[in-house]
């Protein structure tokens, strides 16, 4: 089989597909749409995992929360004393945080109160604020862009009025706004100092929400977490490694769930392709017969059918993947936004960066192209073995 001959068969296959352009175009459009959906899911999951890897790498090494009757409750500050003597703990920072439901806007805010000067990189926090902002002092709060937008606050001199549990108002001056580039972390956040958050949530003195533990040697995190769990049996100890694992599992579940839905679409498409390829009309049968009469071999007809399948599937694959990449990288996977955010009133501007690897492309390719080729191979064989006289007569 010479290269020139194969090129000629490819030319003939392309001309044939162009003659049946309505049918071919329909298959390419449907196939591209199926690939677009499958690839979009894969790219989105990949990009979300990249976000976790990049943005959550500086998370606390260990978080300690007190548990009671299966629920989390405030942890006494004197638990910090019980941790003394555990070799390797560098610092323990208490923190108050919780959720605030705004009945007017139906939005949920995440309120965080801590002494950020004690936190790692606390001194650099002003670099993550928009121009004109400053770190919050007593009676002040720093807010995310989502909070600012949903409350329609002015750029300067804004006040924030929040209700305490007894419905008395707590007024806070807005000292600034987090940069939009940190939206994926801070869009629903209201940051204030520890006494203000204690006052807002009416948390008794001596209690906080959780403790952030920082460890000198990252390799000792698991050992230290084990020791903490032994000393404080009524607590939940969340080491840094668990954060990554949780997200991998969470997105894996989402990806897997979506893949099952997509497999149905792919299966439906393969049945459609089989039906289209096997249901040869009289013109196509006559074409095969004429080709055989003028000297084409069965192998040549098979090559022709292979090229037709390859052209349709490769073009659809490229189109689908290109559109999927643009959808995820430039439109923030807008089609999946309802799945990702649900009924959330505050929705972050998600900048997804799908840093793809060859394996990701190969996975999508193997999920869609070989099944299509396999579905069309038997009809191709059937068409290739038609006796020329039977078709012409």
């Amino acid at each position: 089989m010479s290269f020139a001959k194969q090129l000629n068969i490819l030319d003939y296959a392309l001309q044939g597909l162009w003659r049946r352009r309505l049918k071919t175009g329909g298959i390419v459009v449907i196939f591209s749409a199926v690939i677009f959906l499958a690839a979009s899911f894969q790219f989105t999951i990949k990009a979300l995992n990249n976000l976790v890897d990049q943005d959550l790498r500086a998370t606390p090494e260990i978080v300690i929360q007190k548990m009671s009757a299966g629920r989390q409750e405030s942890i006494p500050l004197n638990y910090i004393k019980k941790l003394k003597g555990i070799w390797g703990i560098r610092r323990v920072v208490p923190r108050i945080w919780g959720y605030y439901f705004d009945a007017t806007t139906k939005a949920n805010y995440t309120v965080i109160g801590l002494n950020y000067s004690k936190m790692p990189m606390g001194g650099l926090l002003d670099k993550a604020l928009i121009k004109g902002s400053h770190l919050p002092g007593p009676g002040e709060a720093l807010i995310g862009t989502g909070v600012k937008e949903v409350l329609r606050l002015p750029d300067k001199g804004a006040m924030l009025s929040l209700f305490r549990p007894d419905y008395s108002l707590k007024a806070l001056k807005v000292s600034g706004v987090f940069m939009p580039s940190t939206d994926i972390l801070t869009t629903d956040t209201i940051l204030m100092n520890l006494p203000d958050s204690r006052d807002l949530f009416a948390i008794k003195p001596g209690l906080v929400t959780d403790l952030c533990v920082y460890v000198a040697n990252p390799r000792e995190v698991t050992t230290i977490a084990r020791k903490i769990a032994a000393r404080l049996p009524d607590t939940r100890v969340v080491p840094k490694s668990q954060i990554k694992e949780t997200y991998r599992e969470v997105f894996g579940w989402r990806g897997g769930f979506a893949s099952i839905c997509l497999l149905t679409a792919i299966a439906a498409f393969i049945i459609f392709a089989w039906d289209k390829a096997s249901g040869m009309n009289p013109d196509e049968k006559r074409e095969v017969a004429i080709l055989k009469v003028i000297g084409w071999q069965t192998a040549d007809i098979l090559s022709l059918r292979f090229y037709e399948g390859f052209i349709v599937s490769s073009l659809s694959f490229l189109l689908g993947c290109t559109l999927a990449y643009a959808h995820v990288a430039f439109m923030g996977a807008g089609l999946f936004r309802p799945i990702l955010t649900g009924w959330s009133v505050i929705q972050p501007r998600i900048m997804l960066r799908p840093a793809l690897e060859f394996s990701d492309i190969l996975l999508i390719f193997s999920l869609v192209v070989p099944p299509y080729m396999a579905a069309t191979i038997v009809p191709a064989w059937r068409s290739a073995i038609i006796p020329p006289d039977a078709a012409v007569n």
Binding site: L7, L10, L14, Q15, V52, Q54, D55, L56, R57, A58, T59, P60, V63, M67, G70, R71, V93, R95, Y99, N108, T110, L114, M121, G122, L124, L125, K127, A128, T182, I184, L185, T186, T187, D188, T189, L191, C212, R226, A229, P233, T235, R236, V238, Q242, I243, T246, Y247, V250, G252, F257, L318, L319, P338, G342, W343, S344, P348, R353, A355, L356
Partner: protein, 102 residues
């Protein structure tokens, strides 16, 4: 022009578009990593979760949520938030609560 050549041109053009998009994205990724503002915020506030869904506390902070949270508001409550349908069940919570389970 013979059809095969036209086909290769189209495929080549799509590949070039893909490469340009990928290069642009990698460039942006480097800029984002260089800024490291996200790292500052994460470290300074001790954040553990991405702010993807703000509708329910167990999907806002899946890492720190209790396993029973979706059902804890009243006895017999069913989980009803849309994002919760796609959220992994927090099976590993409980791995670190007591020394016996370590």
């Amino acid at each position: 022009m013979r059809p095969a050549r036209l086909f290769f041109y189209i495929v080549g053009m799509l590949l070039v578009v893909d490469l340009v998009m990928y290069a642009w994205n990698v460039h942006n990724e480097r800029l984002a990593a260089d800024g490291s503002r996200a790292a500052i915020v994460t470290a300074a506030l001790g954040l553990t979760d991405l702010c993807l869904a703000t509708e329910a506390r167990y999907t806002r902070h899946p890492v720190l949520a209790d396993g029973v949270v979706p059902f804890m508001d009243y006895p017999g409550e069913i989980e009803h938030f849309p994002t919760g349908s796609f959220w992994a069940p927090p099976v590993r919570f409980g791995r670190f609560p007591s020394p016996r389970q370590l």
